[in-house]
């Protein structure tokens, strides 16, 4: 493990993806503004070209440029991340610390895989957005009018800043750094959600998301301050040591509770999820997709950092984490609430939002299982954690494909004129068979039907839970299993409930006649279709051959310890 505290090539290599994003950010800011602008040397009439402003060059004036730049940036960053992931020795365990030895960033498989999730989600969203932001505008109340040349750049800048913020969260070794990254990402997403500010729904969704989100993160910040009060540092290792030494005090519990509120909002766990459906329905679909995948993964990351690093009991200790009961209840309520609410939802985006709540419940259930990690685990207490964390990572990774994919399909419909009613999807099976098939794949993957990736991920999660619950594998009756087993049962039952609304999408697509005026194939949008195709391929491929990814996730899970 090497500590670094100055900017050098090694650090750039270590933080390669982040630098890439940063460079890309600068490029998007600068490149579209390149022109034949000159500046006059003061006191002279000599005008030196400084290439900013003036008449912009034709190449850089292309409205597509910011998008392409963002896609390029994200693609490069993703490739870098994958490179690191495949070559685990390259960047593993590298720590960036401040001069007084405070660890700021730590690069390991765990953070890398989250970066991969973030970049993948944002890359797909960016690709999908390429066609969604046409230049020029035709009708005054058309959503397309929102996106003029200038705002192209804004949109992608925000995407890249959120990418940056998220990777900071992934890398952070200090709670406050994590929080700063979280805020950076959050602010970008607030604005992205409100990017439709010229529509009533867009501005409203943005405002609500902002209000609730910022209250949540403010509470989180307050929690941090209490933590700081408690431990005198916000370093993870310091906090963990302190926790191990002191155990749960009311101050630390309260502090951690507040911190968790901030993350719980991000993963939209009940009862912090209320703004999510509004935000998803107000935002445009790719952004909503990002919220449901990358943003959620970010919240999950925070939760895992706090719960699994700080508050996990010693592996030698006999017992479970203090929060296990709480998290168990939260998980149960969240998954059930989400599914029940989604059952009758007539707005597909809200439905997906509620389904995302339910997925948060599944993930919380998995975390709960980790809380029981010392349950009868004689051989190796850490194993269960690895398994469950790996399952969670896998789940969040593949969720990018089918959750975002589903939103992107709605995005295609939005380009035509809205996807806020289930009936917008009507007749898609006839109009766009491939899109409909893709959507159906996403839906059954969300529900967890083999051989989709969603099945494998859910299977892994349930396997993780069951493995923890069964302990050493000798039970005299099922009642002797840890109670998290019942969470697994609830989870499968919830999967069955969720089948109802996922299938309904299929039914609407294939059964219902299209709405008035929505006949024939949809307007072509090559890039969004490419993104959807990628999602579909990912959904099927990771379901059939997810082995490598599972390996990666396992490595990542081990590096968390």
């Amino acid at each position: 493990m090497s500590n670094q505290n100055e900017l050098n090539m090694d650090m750039i290599e270590t933080l390669g993806p982040e630098f890439t994003v940063f460079v890309g950010l600068l490029l998007i800011m600068i490149v579209p503004n390149l022109g034949n602008g000159t500046f006059r040397v003061p006191g002279t009439s000599i005008r030196l070209p400084w290439f900013l402003g003036g008449t912009r060059y034709k190449v850089v004036a292309s409205p597509r440029l910011p998008g392409l730049l963002a896609v390029l940036t994200m693609a490069v960053a993703l490739i870098q991340v994958i490179w690191y992931l495949c070559d685990s020795s390259a960047a593993d365990g590298k720590v960036i610390s401040s001069e007084n030895g405070i660890e700021i960033f730590k690069v390991n498989m765990f953070s890398r895989i989250f970066e991969a999730i973030f970049f993948a989600a944002l890359l797909l969203a960016a690709i999908a957005s390429l066609d969604r932001l046409p230049t020029g505008s035709q009708k005054s109340d058309d959503i397309d009018v929102l996106f003029n040349n200038r705002r192209q750049a804004d949109f992608y800048i925000l995407m890249l800043t959120s990418a940056l913020g998220m990777s900071v969260v992934a890398l952070a070794q200090d709670m406050f750094v994590l929080f700063v990254g979280l805020e950076l990402a959050s602010f970008s997403t607030y604005v992205l959600v409100a990017f439709h500010k010229e529509t009533r729904a867009g501005s409203e969704g943005g405002a609500k998301y902002f209000i609730v989100g910022s209250v949540a993160s403010a509470v989180g910040l307050y929690g941090l301050s209490m933590l700081y009060l408690w431990a005198g540092s916000l370093q993870f290792d310091v906090l963990a040591a302190k926790w191990a030494a002191d155990g749960a005090t009311s101050l630390s519990m309260m502090a951690l509770g507040f911190v968790l509120v901030g993350f719980a909002f991000k993963i939209s766990a009940v009862p912090f999820h209320f703004a999510a459906p509004d935000a998803y329905s107000g935002a445009n679909s790719p952004v909503a997709g990002v919220l449901a995948t990358a943003s959620k993964a970010m919240g999950m990351l925070g939760l895992m950092r706090v719960l699994l690093i700080i508050t996990i009991p010693d592996s030698t200790a006999d017992g479970s984490a203090v929060w296990i009961g709480l998290l168990g209840v939260l998980a149960a309520v969240t998954m059930t609430w989400g599914n029940i609410a989604a059952l009758g939802s007539e707005n597909p985006k809200r439905m997906l939002a509620y389904s995302s709540v339910a997925h948060a419940g599944y993930m919380l259930a998995a975390l709960t299982a980790i809380g029981a990690w010392n349950w009868g685990l004689v051989d190796n207490a850490g194993d269960a954690m690895d398994v469950v964390v790996a399952a969670l990572l896998f789940h969040m990774f593949v969720l990018v494909f089918f959750k975002l994919g589903a939103f992107l399909v709605l995005g295609v419909l939005e380009m035509e004129g809205g996807a806020s009613r289930l009936s917008s999807l009507a007749g898609l099976g006839k109009r766009e068979p491939l899109l409909a098939v893709a959507m159906f794949l996403f839906m059954i993957s969300l529900a967890g039907v083999p051989p989709m990736a969603g099945f494998l991920s859910k299977l892994l999660v349930i396997m993780g839970i069951v493995e923890v619950a069964t302990g050493t594998g000798s039970l005299s009756s099922i009642a002797d299993a840890h109670w998290v087993w019942w969470l697994a049962l609830l989870m499968v039952i919830n999967s069955a409930i969720s089948m109802f609304y996922y299938l309904r999408v299929g039914v609407v697509m294939y059964f219902h006649e299209p709405e008035e005026g929505r006949q024939g194939p949809l307007a072509s949008g090559a890039s969004i279709r490419i993104a959807i195709a990628l999602c579909a391929i990912g959904t099927v491929a990771f379901g059939l051959v997810g082995g490598e990814l599972i390996d990666m996730c396992r490595d990542a899970a081990e590096s968390l310890r």
């Binding site: 405070i102 406050f176 700063v180 805020e183 602010f187 607030y190 604005v191 409100a194 500010k197 010229e198 529509t199 009533r200 729904a201 867009g202 501005s203 409203e204 969704g205 943005g206 405002a207 609500k208 902002f210 209000i211 910022s214 209250v215 403010a218 509470v219 910040l221 307050y222 941090l224 301050s225 209490m226 700081y228 009060l229 005198g232 540092s233 916000l234 459906p277 509004d278 329905s281 107000g282 939802s345 809200r350």
Partner: protein
């Protein structure tokens, strides 16, 4: 010198006021102000804790938090402005097109 504990109490009071205000007030701007209250409560706590622990990092945290609060307000106001442009109100209760 004041016992840092009292500062914590003060910050707790501020926090409670802030949270209370956040869900009792309809006016978005006032909610924003309540948000600031919560953030400032955190700042106070940071500072107090920094003194208590004799650790300078707390100060740094506070300064960062102020910057965050500032940008939060900027974003918030921009979003509310957009909202006002569409809904012609900044009452959070009246902006409920999206629900259920």
């Amino acid at each position: 010198m004041i016992d840092p504990a009292w500062v914590s109490v003060l910050s707790a009071i501020l926090f409670i006021i802030g949270v209370w205000g956040a869900f009792t007030r309809k006016n978005a701007i006032i909610v924003l102000m309540c948000l600031e209250l919560i953030l400032n409560a955190a700042n106070l706590q940071f500072v107090a804790a920094a003194i208590q622990h004799g650790d300078a990092t707390g100060w740094v945290y506070a300064i960062f938090a102020i910057a965050i609060a500032a940008s939060e307000v900027a974003i918030g106001l921009a979003i509310f402005l957009a909202m006002y442009g569409q809904h012609e109100t900044i009452s959070l209760d009246d902006v409920n097109l999206l629900k259920h």
